[in-house]
Each structure stands twice: as structure tokens, then as C-alpha cells.
Symmetry: C3
Subunit: 437 residues, 3 copies
């Protein structure tokens, strides 16, 4: 009779238990407990304490099961990530497109208006094993031999920060800053002195707020095709430091020095368009002249404070002549620019590289920047009458995203003295749509 | 004595339990139960009911453990997918290769036979953030400056469906249909009137069965190099609608209108090979003549019913002359084609774009299509004697897969009147192997 | 009183239990056991045995929970991998960069020194569906029309091992071995006889230690632009076998045969620089002469034993003349080379292709190889005075990794008789930095 009652109470208890969503590690024990309590085998204290033990068990079990699950999941996930990583190509494909439109006022000379693809580049870059890297970049906008379109084409040995191949010679702030990231659509007039890329070997050392780079280089992408003289060679070095570099405030100081022995037919030419590429009429041009070697120097300075930046560079270039009786000549130039973001943004200065990088807008609607620049270039000395030019440029930039940029420039050539187009002082409106990927 | 027996029975029970593969949440309880039952502390009913409770527990535990595991696994998996997604390049690499072989019968003029790479293109395209996209496509088969190989080079702002850059001007059905997807190896003769790609800004609006596109464009990829005149500019618009568009039946109607102001040296030339590119001898050619502006119009119609399609376009082009005393001239042309799939396939018409896209074979052995086309072109008017031509083409296509296509065409130039090669009426067999990736 | 004691002991037990880190499936049972034991309901034997059962349970539970977790994790992980795989591009992007520097001693003729990008290639390759594949490779180092930079441009139908498109005609061991994998920086002089790539259709059959390939080909990448003659065509076949091919020892024997019908203007020219590309002054040159067809044959042999290899090829080329009264001419050449790895490495010979592939260094510090080659070429016969040349080359290779290779060669032209530069016997030091990706 007692047993029958017991049976009933168990049925009820069982019902409750099995419907319980908790891990019922103790439910059978629970049943047994009830039974033993009811038939007097154990007392109330024991009953309740064991019940508590069962409850504690439930919580513990759930927690520990979760721990095991997470541990096992993570293990498996680790394998997945590894597998994916292994299957992913080491080679990153990227590039840029720069689409320009411009209207250039005709002055003494013809300056035409129109549209052009300014740059259309693809690159492949990647890491090989842990110590090596490479980059191959081509600009589909180039003339003459296809080879002329090759931009970066180098391999890196990372442990020693050595770069072998076709890459920029370290020289000047605006030159080392990618055309994607310059403040204005075109670099300032004195950029004419930059040597650009050559095949060579260079190395860099840097700290948090300084860098020094140097290398030796050949001449061009091709071998010395024909001609009776060997290819030229050069050496270049650049050092920069940011004595102030904190709290959105940066002071940049730098200098570059470059020597080049002129090979081939021992000639040299410096010429420059107005700071609007859409016209191909030069405003200054030394025309080709004899040269044995050329030595270049640059002094760089920049100050950044939040949305505001100002920067300037002074260039000096001396040419040792080749022909007897010709006096060595010295050319020079400089530019000064200032920019201000109207949004809560700033230029992206990399102290470890001593140059600017990508602007990443802080807000939904992108970053807006206004800027102005004054450029001056003097290509006249001794028997060389390349002319002198001064130019003023106003710019408006909209960085829609970190990949998309639109720029509008108004370029006003203030003064051109001497040179083949003396007195030709055009002005231009230029627009650029740029995508980087 | 009783206890000793109990001990034995327990040993046995224990053996069974520990060997059991189920989650033995109840096995200890089980042992205890047996013991209590055997020593009479609990009755049979209790024994069995608690046993049931233990069993229920097992099932419940297993289920709940599984639930926890799945939940935890999914969490971790989510992180993995995110990590992978982040590390995946946004840039898709693709392209096409078109390998041609052809035999052209010599007629009055030289028409040579041989092989050529007709197109070899690579492109990079992708999305940037959510609103922007881009495409850069290059054709390694091109002459002159590398720049000439640039095909698509644009960026898209998706919310407004605005495209900025070097892209096709909206014009004509066969022109807007990729060379990968045209019915025949070469487009019909009147394609000579298509302006192709220019740098500009265009936008499109479309619905399920209609589209309208328009834009304004500059002239070519390069700036106006030299010359004393500005680059030309143009405007183009195209509208299409599919009044019938359901159940494998489609009726397409469309029209294009294009105006272009001729810049540079104010000249124009229309010339066309037979519909076999392997020969570079033109059958009609206006040679260069003075032009101030050119206005083009096209009427398009197509009807698709299952494996069958028919389509035609009529072109009219008027040229406003530049030189005094020269009468304006008007040229025209048209083509009509019909195609029939011998397999259970159909052309892939995109009503939202008003053009054809990739054929994806329904069967294992690919899709087979036969087709015929009649083309007519008249480049003679007033003082311009470019000649008139009529041509008949028969085609056989095998779409091995959605990426691989082989085509054979027989082109028969029926009649050539006037023009520099009057009476030269060659015929040609051409073959193409095509891969799209 | 007894019960009170029991209560105390339970409290203690409970404390221990809940603090236990193990899955305490048995702790409640434990408590109950203690209680029953202490109040004499069960005997010591039962107590201990049930305790054991509880312990066994713990272990079992943990193990089984782990199994469930792993199973569930794996399921989820499987989905992730599938998702990732699906999202991965089918197209592999790869390429090579070869950066050369060289110093060539001037002799009778001008031979200049300098740097050059020897090759800068990108390729896209992939599989389409299961049966098809493709490759498109471009060399940015090329002259003239962009089209000239196109290297591989073909599609493969794998089930029949048929290749359609622009690819190498099967011919000679050093020719079929990629420029990335040749022992020396430049191939031996007789490479002048290799036809290179043309558009055609070829197929290959092979076994573990043999291959035979053959195909028919057109002429060049472009259609027969202008000229009054059709493009030429050719047929080529190559067969190789490795009678010894085991335990790091390989004997390779091969032969190639090629016939070509000269099209276009029916002329031919064989000319070759010294085995240093940096100079573009040829040491042997037949200059252009009339030709109707050319037949070429090669005998190949190579023996590899661990780090050592020796190989040689003999070439014979007969030209059927086009102009009346001109005697057919026969040219010939051969080279023999030997190489030795100073590290525990070997050349990577692929018997199924009958050519060499990538060297993968066995050690941390890469693989070092020294090598020497003697080359001979005779381009003088009958009325053709192209000259004869003999050249000796010493090479040092460092395979830093399977992707990075540096080579230094000393090339000494021993003897040049006849030809336009008779007696001009320059020597050269050349260096190459190479990255493959």
C-alpha cells in the first residue's frame, strides 16, 4: 500500500523531470531520493542536501560541456583557417585607374582640352616563404615599347630590407608619395628633377619617426640597345626624421642626394608641362644638351596639425658637361603647398617611410580637402635657356572612400620667362576620378 | 552473506555499465538501485520507474549536449567565415582568349589566310565598400601605344547607376553585346558606325523588361596630343523595351541616337573588312574626309522563341562637313540574322540591359546553334565614294560549356560596288576557339 | 541524532563535490551513497563498487561529450570549407620577373654593359568545369605591337590532352624547359633554330618515363597583315624516353623534328647574340635570305645522377630555297653542358614532359649549383655566310627558395669565323635575380 503511493509519486516526479529542459543529470537520483525519503530510509536533511548536490551538478555539467564544445570547435576551426590560408593565392592583384578631363586656356601656344586615362595600372604582389616578397606593376598607359609600361618590378629580402629590381630611386617627398596620394592632380614643377625608377639594389633602415634609404641603380628598363656607350648608372640616398610626431601633430624634415653618371649618348633634357597633363605642350624645356653627370639635392619640410598641413621642397641640380668648353650648369626649383580638411580628417603621413599614404575618411560622407600650391622652376643657366616658370594651383579633393577619390584643380601659370615658349602662360581646369584597388 | 551476494551482482552490473557506449548518466544510480532493490530497501515499482528516469535522462542529456555543441561550433564557424571573407581579395581576375584561323579566297585584291589571336583580354573588377565598383580591362591584342589596348576602365557609383570612365557609348544591339556572345565570329558590316569606347560619364535606368541609358563622352584614351584643335566630344543614348518577355518568348525593340562633334584635325573615315578579320584588306573605305560632326541613329528589333531567334538593325549616319562647299553626306546599313539551336537551348537575352549574355548549355554535350546573316552597307554619297557591300554569312556554333565556345563561319561577300576595291568580292571560311574566364 | 551527524557529513561532502572540476555526474549519487552507507542501508562493498561505477561514468561521459562536440564541429567546419572553396576564384594569377645586369667586354664590335628587365610576365590560368583548362600569359618586356608580348594563350581539352592556341611548338630540350629553369641565364647558341610559339593545335601522350607530342601550327600571333602571300604553316613533333629513371639516376633520350613552310615574303633569317642578352650585337647573322621551307631536327641526351647532370643536343636545319638557282643550305649546332649541386639537391627532370622543372632546395640555405657549357653554331653554307661561333660559359646558381633564384654567368666567345662580325669574340659577366610566383 505504501509502495503503491510511492509508485504514484514517482510517476508524477518522473513526468516533471523528463519535461525539464535542464540537463537532468540528477533526475534519476531525484526519483530514488524521493523514494528513499518517503519510505524513511533517509531523513529530510539528507534528502534536501542531496537535492542541492544534484542541482549543483546540473549547472557544473552544463558549464563543463560548453567548455569541451568550445575547445573542440576551436581546434576544428583552427584546421579550417589553416586549410583556407594554404589554399589562398599568395599573389594579391591590385591597381589604380586615374581618369582625367581638362580644359586648358590657349595662350601663345596651343594647349588643348579633352579627356585622358592618366594611369591604368595593375600589379601583382605577394610574399614568398617568410623572408621574400615581390611586386610587379604595369601601367597600360605608356608609349613606345611595351617595356616602358613596367613600373615596380622587384623582389625584396625582408630580413635585411634589401630591394633588388626596378623601383623608385629614393628622392624627394612628392616623388616618394604615390601619385594616388599627392595633394594635387599633378606634382609640382620641380618634380622634373626626379629620376624615377631604375633597376638597382637599395636598402632602408627606419625607426618610428625616421628613415634612411639608399641604393645604386642602372639606367632604364632595357639593356643599352645599340649605341657605342655603356648604360649610365647612379646612386641615391634619402633621410627623413619627424622630430615632432604625436597627437595629430607632425613635423617632417628630410633631405635627398642623388648622383648620376650619364651613359649612352651623354645627353640630358629637362622639360615640364604646366601642372596639367592633358596638354602636352611644355612651358619650360632645356632641349637636349651634352652632360657627363648630374648631381641633385633636395631639402624637404612638412608640418601637419590635425586637418591642416603645409609642406615644401627645395631642389638644386648641377650638371657636369661632356663637351669641351661648355660650362657646368645649375638648375633649381621649389614648391610650397598648404592643405586643409573641411571634415574631421588628416593627411596620412608615414614617418617610417617619410611619405604620405592613403587617406581614410573618418565620416560617412567622405573627406573634403582644399589646398593651394606655389611652384617655381628655373631651367636657365649659362648656355642653357630652358626658361623659368612660376605656377599657382588651387585644389579641391573629395575622398569618397579610402579607395575612391575625386579632385578638381585650377592651375594658373603666372610667369614664364625665356625658354622655347617664353611668355606662354596658360591656365587650366582639371578634374580627376580615381579608383584604387 | 546477503551482502556478499550483493557485491557479486554489483561487479557484474558494473562490468556491463562501463562497457556501455551510451552516456551512462544513470549507471551508478543503476548500481545503487540494484543494491537497494536487492536488499529490499525499495520495491520493484520504484526500481523500474527510477530505471526509466535514468533512461530518459540519457536521451535528454545526449540531445542537450548536441545542442550545446552545435551552438558553440556555429559561433566559432562564424568567426572563421568572417576572417576568411576579410582576407579574400575583392578583386576578380577574368578575361577571354579568342583564337582564329581563316582561309580567305583571293579575288581582285589580296586576301590572305592564316591564324591570329583575335582578342586576349585580362580584366580586374570588383566592388569597393558597398556603393562603388570598378573594372579595368586590357586587350593584349592591340597596335601602337600600349594605351590603345585599354578597354573598360571605369568606376561605378551604384546607388545612382552612374559610370565614370572609359566604357562603351550606348549604341546598337550588336555593339552592346560582348564579342564573346555575338552570334557570328564578327559583327555585321554596319558595325562600322559604332563609336566604341570613350572616356565619359553615363547613367542607366531599367526595369524588368526595359532600359534607357545615356551619357556624354570625350574622344579616345589619350589627351589631345599635339595638333592645334581640342579633342572632340559626343553624346549617346539608347532605349530598349521587350513588350513580350515571358515563357521563352521575347520581342525586343530598341533605338540608339548618337551625336559627335569631331575634334582634332576634323576628319573622319569609315572602312570595313569583310566579316572575316583575318584579312586586313578593306572592301569598303571612304578614306579620310573632312567632317565637323556626325549624327547616328539605329533601329533595333529582335524576336526570340525558345531555340529560335531573329534580329535586325538599321543604321543611318549623317556627317556635317567641315570644308566650305562640301555637301553633307549620309551613309546607311543594316543586317538581319536568324539563329536556331539544335539542342534544347536558347540565346540569353537580358531585357534589363537590352543585349545578349552568356549561353549556358542545358545538356552534357553543350549547345549547338546554326545561323545565317545578311549584311548591307552603303558608304557612298555625294563626293564620298566609299562603296557599297552586301555580304552573306552562315555560322555554326558549339557552346561546349558556358566558358568554352567554338565557331565556324562561311562568309560570302555578294557584291561590292564602287569604293577603292570595287568588284572585289572574296569569300572566307573562319574558325574561332574561345575561352572566357 | 544519527541523522544530524549524517547531515553534517553531507554538508562536507557537498562542499567537496561542487568544487570538483570533473563532470560530477556521480556527486549527488555520491552524497546519497554516503548517506545510505552511513545509515547502514547498504554495506561497504556496495558503497565502494557504486563509487567506482560513478567514477567510470565521469570518464565515459567526458569522452562521449567530446566525441559529440568533435562530430558537430566537423560538420559545421565542412560547411565553412565548402563555402570558402565556392567563393575562391578559379583563376590563378602568377608570373615571373627576371632582372639582369651585365658587363660585356668590347671587342671588334660595340658590346655595351648595363641593366635590363629580361622578362616580366603575368599569367592567368585555371580549370573550367572538369574537362577544360586555359592559360593566358603576357610578357611586358616586348617591342612593337602589344600583341608581340603574348606568350601562352591557349585552351586545353584534358580528356584528349589537346591544346588549342598560341603555345610552344614541341622542339628540343632546352627550348621546352622554361627560361626560369634553364641551367644558364641564356640558352645555348643553337636555340636560334627553335621556332618558339605559334597558334595551332597539338596533343601529347605520355607515360611515367616517356612522352610524345606533336601538332600543326600557323605563323605568329597576327593575321597575315598585308603582303600578297598567305601566312606560313608548320608541323612539329618531339619524342622523349628515360630508359633509366629511378633512385635519383636518370638517362634521357629525345628527338625533335620540325617542318615549316615559309609564308609571307618567303624570307628567313637566323641570328644570335652571344649568350649574354644585355648586348644586342649579334655575333652570327645570316641576314635575310630567300626560303621556301625549313626542316629542323634535334637529338637530345641527358644523364642525371644525384647532384650531377650532363646534357647535350645536336641541331640540324635544312632550308629549301625559294629563288631559282639558289642551292639549298644546311646549318647545324650543338651544345654540351654539365652541372653539379654543391648542396644535397638535384635538377628536377620530369620524364612525363621530357623537360626540367623547378628546383626546390632541400636545405635551409637554398641550393648551390656550378655548371659549364660549350656551345657551337654554324650558320655558313653555300651562298649564306652567317658565320660560325663557339662559346664557353661557366655558371653559378643559388636557388634561395623554390621561387627565388640568383645566377652569375661568365660567357666567353671563343671563336667567331665569317659572318658580319667575323673575329668579334667578346666575353661577358652576367647576373640575374629571378622571382617566380
Amino acid at each position: 500500500m505504501k509502495y503503491r503511493n510511492l509508485g504514484k509519486s514517482l510517476v508524477a516526479g518522473l513526468a516533471i523531470t523528463t519535461s525539464g529542459s535542464a540537463i537532468a543529470a540528477g533526475s534519476a537520483v531525484e526519483e530514488l531520493l524521493k523514494a528513499l525519503y518517503q519510505n524513511g530510509t533517509i531523513d529530510k536533511a539528507t534528502y534536501e542536501l542531496v537535492q542541492q548536490a544534484a542541482k549543483a551538478e546540473d549547472a557544473q555539467n552544463r558549464e563543463q560541456i560548453r567548455e569541451i564544445s568550445v575547445a573542440e570547435s576551436k581546434k576544428v576551426a583552427g584546421d579550417v583557417v589553416a586549410k583556407v590560408k594554404a589554399s589562398k593565392p599568395d599573389v594579391k592583384l591590385g591597381g589604380r585607374i586615374q581618369l582625367d578631363a581638362g580644359s586648358v586656356s590657349e595662350d601663345n601656344m596651343d594647349h588643348n582640352s579633352g579627356t585622358e586615362i592618366r594611369r591604368a595600372r595593375l600589379f601583382a604582389k605577394g610574399d614568398l616563404h617568410k623572408d621574400w616578397g615581390f611586386k610587379l606593376q604595369y601601367d597600360f598607359v605608356s608609349k613606345g615599347d611595351n617595356t616602358n609600361g613596367i613600373q615596380d618590378a622587384y623582389l625584396d629580402y625582408k630580413p635585411l630590407k634589401i630591394r633588388i629590381g626596378h623601383a623608385k630611386e629614393p628622392f624627394s617627398l612628392q616623388n616618394m608619395t604615390s601619385s594616388k596620394y599627392t595633394t594635387f592632380i599633378e606634382r609640382g614643377l620641380p618634380h622634373v628633377f626626379a629620376e624615377g625608377r631604375n633597376i638597382g639594389i637599395q636598402t632602408v633602415r627606419n625607426g618610428e619617426n625616421w628613415m634612411i634609404a639608399g641604393g645604386i641603380f642602372g639606367d632604364g628598363r632595357d639593356g643599352s640597345e645599340g649605341g657605342e656607350n655603356n648604360e649610365g648608372w647612379g646612386a641615391a640616398a634619402r633621410a627623413t626624421i619627424a622630430p615632432i610626431h604625436a597627437d595629430g601633430e607632425t613635423l617632417h624634415l628630410g633631405t635627398s642626394l642623388s648622383y648620376r653618371n650619364i651613359g649612352g649618348d651623354h645627353t640630358l633634357q629637362f622639360k615640364e608641362r604646366p601642372e596639367a597633363h592633358i596638354t602636352d605642350t611644355e612651358i619650360v624645356d632645356t632641349t637636349t644638351f651634352d652632360a657627363n653627370s648630374v648631381t641633385r639635392g633636395v631639402l624637404e619640410a612638412a608640418y601637419i596639425n590635425g586637418p591642416f598641413h603645409v609642406q615644401g621642397e627645395y631642389y638644386r641640380t648641377s650638371v657636369e658637361r661632356q663637351l669641351a668648353g661648355r660650362k657646368d650648369v645649375t638648375f633649381s626649383g621649389y614648391y610650397a603647398e598648404a592643405g586643409l580638411f573641411l571634415t574631421n580628417d588628416t593627411v596620412n603621413y608615414k614617418a617610417s617611410k617619410g611619405s604620405y599614404s592613403k587617406v581614410t575618411p573618418s565620416g560617412e560622407n567622405g573627406a573634403w580637402q582644399i589646398a593651394a600650391r606655389f611652384s617655381s622652376l628655373d631651367l636657365t643657366d649659362e648656355d642653357i635657356n630652358g626658361g623659368t616658370a612660376e605656377s599657382l594651383t588651387f585644389g579641391l579633393n573629395w575622398f569618397a572612400t579610402s579607395n575612391i577619390r575625386f579632385s578638381a584643380n585650377y592651375v594658373n601659370v603666372l610667369d614664364v620667362d625665356g625658354g622655347p615658349t617664353a611668355g606662354d602662360e596658360p591656365s587650366a581646369f582639371t578634374f580627376r576620378s580615381q579608383v584604387e584597388f
